[in-house]
């Protein structure tokens, strides 16, 4: 933690960056995002098991962008988010500094190449527990799955907190806001909720880096991560693709192989 604070102080003092985005202590022992602009503030920085949020989400917020060049305390998911944003032409190389905590130390990663090398060294497969949970769903009957999701989506308020928390939901005008035609009905009701949640998941297919912030943001506790993980698992097993591994890469969903499986097509 000291290494992190020292690094942040140094970066701000030398004006290498204009803002350090990191974690500070929030209410009730939780972590919250903090935006340090002066060296003295660096002492507030923390990094521990409570620091789960994918801070890369702020890279796409205009009010944060206005602050100038940023250094970002980056978890593995945040690093992959940066690479995915790069692949989608949203961030430029050398325009930000990722601070990757490694044990007690901090590793500054200034270029996409450095982030790629760091990311490549780690394992990004779904964990055994995540795989087991998906397996449990696969083993359920169709009707059981339908009832499960019907109940979950019935609680959806269409507050779009999941969207705000997602670092890859950066579109300035979401399809939800489109009213000619009105793709997603405005009120929260079963059919519209299903449409919204299917759309959200589909739009993240081949892009989601599994940070889990959508589920953490959901005020009614819908396990949205399950939908993402299902698609991550499909994209990986069927197309052998994984998002957020390279700054220059084509999306699994906007490319194809002539021999993609088609056993379901009659």
């Amino acid at each position: 933690m000291n290494a992190l604070r020292e690094k942040a102080r140094e970066l701000l003092a030398a004006k290498t960056v204009q803002v350090v985005i990191g974690y500070g202590r929030g209410s009730g022992g939780s972590a919250r995002a903090v935006f340090m602009r002066a060296p003295a503030q660096a002492a507030e920085l923390i990094f521990d098991a409570t620091c789960l949020q994918n801070l890369a989400v702020y890279l796409m917020k205009p009010e944060v962008r206005k602050l100038g060049k940023a250094a970002l305390v980056a978890t593995p998911a945040a690093l992959r988010t940066i690479l995915q944003l790069a692949a989608e032409n949203q961030v430029a190389d050398n325009s930000l500094l990722a601070l990757a905590p490694v044990g007690e130390d901090i590793m500054p990663l200034a270029t996409f190449a450095a982030i790629e090398a760091h990311v490549a060294a780690a394992d990004h497969d779904l964990s055994a527990a995540e795989g087991a949970e998906l397996g449990k769903f696969a083993a359920m009957g169709l009707e059981e799955r339908r009832r499960f999701w019907e109940e979950q989506f019935s609680r959806c308020l269409k507050c779009y907190a999941c969207r705000a928390a997602c670092p890859l939901c950066y579109c300035t005008r979401c399809t939800v806001e489109c009213n000619q035609p009105q793709w997603i009905p405005v009120p929260a009701h079963d059919l519209g909720n299903l449409e919204w949640n299917v759309m959200r998941a589909m739009h993240l297919a081949g892009r989601c880096v599994n940070c889990g912030d959508c589920s953490r943001a959901c005020p009614v506790g819908i396990p949205l991560y399950l939908l993402n993980q299902k698609l991550i698992s499909d994209v990986s097993s069927v197309f052998q693709a994984r998002s957020g591994m390279a700054a220059r890469s084509d999306n699994a969903m906007s490319t194809f192989k002539p021999n993609d499986p088609e056993d379901f097509i009659r």
């Binding site: 769903f137 169709l142 009707e143 059981e144 799955r145 339908r146 009832r147 499960f148 999701w149 019907e150 399809t175 793709w183 059919l191 519209g192 299903l194 449409e195 299917v198 759309m199 998941a201 589909m202 297919a205 081949g206 399950l226 939908l227 299902k230 698609l231 499909d234 994209v235 069927v238 197309f239 699994a252 969903m253 906007s254 490319t255 194809f256 192989k257 002539p258 993609d260 499986p261 088609e262 379901f264 097509i265 009659r266």
Partner: protein, 123 residues
């Protein structure tokens, strides 16, 4: 025959399946009037949101059909569509929606056999 007559919407590409459905007409083959066709330039154009919209608006079944691989009028629209279908279908199944309600096909022998068997599957 049960009283229930499933309403089926077919989303088809202009070049293979729409033309094929025309040919079905020209050859006077018969299928259920519950099947209606909406024309698209290419399967690549068919947005999954429209399939959702069709279900949300009361369609019992959906057919999505276009040119065979390598026969696409636009060379690769159908390949892109196929990727989208793979993921979309997987997601629907995960959500507990019976994927037999969405049938994907490359245009082959559209006509009585296909359309009636499709109806039977949903009846």
């Amino acid at each position: 025959m049960p009283d229930f007559e499933p309403k089926i919407v077919a989303f088809v590409c202009n070049w293979c399946t729409y033309a094929g459905a025309d040919l079905t007409g020209t050859s006077r083959m018969k299928y259920s009037p519950q099947v209606s066709i909406i024309r698209f330039p290419c399967t690549g154009r068919i947005d999954f949101m429209l399939l959702l919209k069709a279900f949300a608006s009361g369609a019992d079944g959906i057919i999505v059909s276009g040119c065979h691989p390598n026969d696409c009028h636009y060379s690769s629209g159908n390949f892109h569509a196929r990727r989208r279908w793979i993921i979309f279908r997987g997601l629907l199944d995960f959500l507990g929606i019976d994927v037999r309600r969405v049938q994907f096909s490359w245009y082959g022998r559209w006509g009585r056999s296909r359309a009636t068997s499709a109806c039977a599957a949903w009846a």
